[in-house]
């Protein structure tokens, strides 16, 4: 396999394209809305009408507007059909020739589509995730080829540094710096791990990328492995994502067949194999040291850092761990150049970010926007605001480790620093919109319950602290708490935040702290006045109830 072979596959693939294409979204959201049957019926209709030479029915990944699935895009540029049913197949085929379709069309000029800028999702909804040829036709594996044959590992690391790419898993650590550290760490054996343990409830960006464009992850990992000197990779993916797992398995098999994974890739001395490790439902395994412990087949408990995985990770070897979206950015950066990437976004947050927009919002689905886009643009323009005339109250980012950004702060640009300043975090990209029917104390308790259940139990501040904070929040909701309880809650938040071993405990108080900061009145409205003397339980019951 060399560059010409890649280009030849691309040519052949493009030459086989037909006059019309019906791209059917086959990502998990649409599949659970009956997309399989829609695709089968479209294929049958095309065959029955004898139009197989003119129309291609293609399986593709996510086409973003998940709430209106199953989605079918009719090309060239006819329309994006929403909520397609098998019965409407005939009219959709007819629409290719200008006929009326019996299902509604999405408005391509809606900000939901026009404000997107696709780097990570560039192939999503375009290539067939189960055919490597389709990925190669979109210039797939060219970046790996060029890195291996035209760049030294050092130059690849430098390109990552220059691009300004930062970790998309949430913390925003500079990717180039991390790669450089692993590359410099001594050791004959090194590993690359892709963290696909997307545990934040409300986040589904990584799932979509894995289901829609699995080869981009493999290519990104291979480039990383070359840069740091690793020959073995692992993808740690959640068991809850069966479709993503199966597409990854298919992708790895095809990549091996085509010689873009394995030994002597592109006739260079570089070898790289990738294995899948399936998680088993533990949120803490998103933390890198816990994840490595799980890859080694143990309980997923974190350990203190340093040593950082870059120096001593999997089986005590230097290990590079990056998130799915981080790896998905890599091929484009190599292909189009670090300067191009660095020209997108803000001074300190480069490139784009994919968000999973969900909750009380009209348009739910996936969006990819340049860093620095104001939250208001995302939520009100692209998302279309709250449905049914509701009013947006807050936007939750970062899941159980993040916080709630109140409606007043919607003009905040999304970048790592601005969100941190508001007491939230960028997180992996879950963005849940809440309207005025949502009680913020309930939300705080919801996340605390999550952290309490998911605490691995290794360190006491997290194990015991989350239980105590949860019971205090419950007490507040049951209107049995006093101002003193609230003070205790705040004290505990501070203690757990500063003394827990890993990120789970350190960030567990965030949803509570941020709702306390912006919606303190909701807490205070639930408080009871202090009992006189503090212990007369009989007298306490007779005190007037604050409303």
């Amino acid at each position: 396999m060399d560059r010409n072979d890649l280009l030849e596959i691309k040519e052949k693939e493009l030459a086989s394209r037909k006059k019309f294409t019906l791209r059917c979204c086959m990502a998990a959201g649409c599949v659970s809305s009956n997309a399989e049957a829609v695709k089968a019926r479209l294929e049958k209709t095309v065959a029955d009408l004898g139009l197989a030479n003119e129309i291609e029915v293609r399986r593709v990944g996510c086409m973003r507007l998940c709430c209106e699935g199953p989605l079918v895009q009719a090309d060239p540029q006819v329309a994006l059909f929403e909520r397609v049913t098998p019965e409407s197949a005939m009219t959709i085929v007819g629409a290719l020739n200008g006929g009326p379709a019996s299902v509604s069309k999405a408005d391509p000029h809606h900000p939901f589509f026009t404000k997107q800028l696709s780097i990570v999702l560039a192939n999503s909804g375009v290539v067939d995730p189960e055919r490597i040829e389709s990925y190669i036709a979109a210039d797939g594996y060219l970046a790996l080829h060029d890195a291996l044959t035209e760049m030294t590992p050092r130059e690849v690391v430098d390109a990552m540094v220059k691009s300004g790419l930062r970790g998309r898993g949430g913390a925003g650590f500079p990717t180039g710096l991390k790669w450089g550290t692993v590359a410099k760490s001594p050791g004959a054996k090194k590993y690359v791990i892709c963290n696909a343990d997307e545990g934040d409830p409300g986040a589904f960006m990584d799932r979509s990328v894995l289901e829609s464009d699995p080869h981009s992850i493999l290519e990104g990992m291979a480039v990383a492995a070359y840069a740091v000197g690793a020959d073995q990779g692992f993808i740690y993916v959640r068991a809850e994502y069966p479709l993503a797992i199966s597409r990854l398995q298919t992708a790895i098999k095809q990549a091996k067949q085509f010689g873009v994974l394995g030994s002597g890739i592109f006739a260079s001395p570089f070898n790289f194999t990738v294995d899948i490790r399936i998680g088993a439902g533990a949120f803490v395994c998103g933390e890198e040291t816990a994840l490595m412990s799980s890859v080694e087949g143990r309980r997923g408990t974190p350990r203190p850092r340093p040593p950082f995985p870059a120096e001593s990770g999997l089986w005590n070897c230097p290990t590079l761990i990056n998130n799915v979206e981080t790896f998905a950015n890599v091929p484009a950066i190599i292909r189009k150049g670090a300067e191009w990437f660095a020209s997108i976004g803000t001074a300190k947050s480069k490139g784009t970010k994919v968000f999973a927009l969900a909750g009380k919002i009209t348009n739910t689905g996936l969006i990819e926007v340049p860093m620095g886009t104001p939250l208001r643009t995302i939520v009100e323009e692209m998302g279309g605001g709250a449905p049914d005339g509701g009013k947006i109250k807050a936007v939750q980012t970062g899941g159980p480790s993040g916080g709630c950004v109140p409606a007043e702060a919607l003009d905040t640009p999304v970048d790592y620093e601005s969100l941190t300043k508001l007491g939230s975090i960028m997180g992996s990209g879950g963005m849940i919109v809440m309207d005025d029917s949502t009680q913020m104390v309930d939300v705080a308790r919801f996340f605390m319950e999550f952290c309490m259940d998911e605490s691995c139990g290794k360190c006491i501040p997290c194990r015991a602290g989350t239980v105590q904070m949860h019971s205090l929040l419950t007490k507040i909701i049951q209107r049995k708490a006093t101002a003193r309880d609230l003070a205790t809650l705040e004290e505990l938040c501070d203690m757990v935040k500063h003394t827990s071993l890993c990120g789970l405990g350190q960030t567990a108080p965030n949803p509570t702290l941020s709702t306390l900061r912006f919606f303190r009145k909701e807490y205070e409205a639930l408080l009871q006045p202090e009992a006189l003397g503090g212990h007369a339980s009989g007298a306490e019951a007779k005190l007037p109830v604050a409303t």
Binding site: G29, S32, G199, G202, A203, R207, G297, G300, G359, G399
Partner: protein
């Protein structure tokens, strides 16, 4: 090599799987996944079998099996109903769905009905946030569930 005394073919299949991983200790989670797929749940005898075959202390196998939510040490009912309790589903009323189901079948999440027909479970987020609230009936993800629709669906199984 010792055979499992029961002569159950599934043990043989599990052994083949372990061999595929060369009995490596780091494949323990993969092996447990396979075991649960074959047997439906992980009973003590099965965990001891895995421990012996992988040459691991039973405490390590038990420790791993009980650490992860995905593994279950109790048999499941004939059907499963998994209500997603992710944030998006939660703000769109998953709490009402689970309350209605709980009320209809009189079991709590994580339990199985007395007639062994249904196991009620919750999930932390199945990533189907675009179609919230989602419920998984016997492995099929179903979008936009209401309490009424969920109860109607599981009544058919009872």
């Amino acid at each position: 090599m010792l055979e499992h005394a029961s002569g159950d073919k599934r043990f043989k299949m599990l052994e083949v799987h372990m061999k595929k991983h060369q009995q490596r200790h780091d494949a323990l989670i993969e092996v447990l996944h396979k075991a649960q797929e074959l047997f439906g749940y992980l009973e003590d005898d099965l965990l001891l079998f895995i421990a012996a075959k992988l040459a691991l202390p039973p405490s390590r196998v038990y420790g791993v099996a009980t650490f992860y939510h995905f593994f279950t040490l109790k048999p499941k009912g004939e059907h499963t109903c998994v209500v997603c309790m992710g944030t998006a589903c939660y703000v769109k009323g998953a709490d009402k769905v689970i309350a209605a189901v709980q009320d209809a079948v009189k079991v709590k999440p994580g339990e199985t009905t007395a007639n062994n027909k249904l196991s009620l479970l919750t999930a932390r987020c199945i990533g189907a946030c675009g179609i919230a609230p989602a419920v998984v009936y016997d492995g099929t993800v179903t979008p936009r569930q209401t309490p009424e629709a969920a109860v109607e669906r599981i009544r058919k199984w009872m």
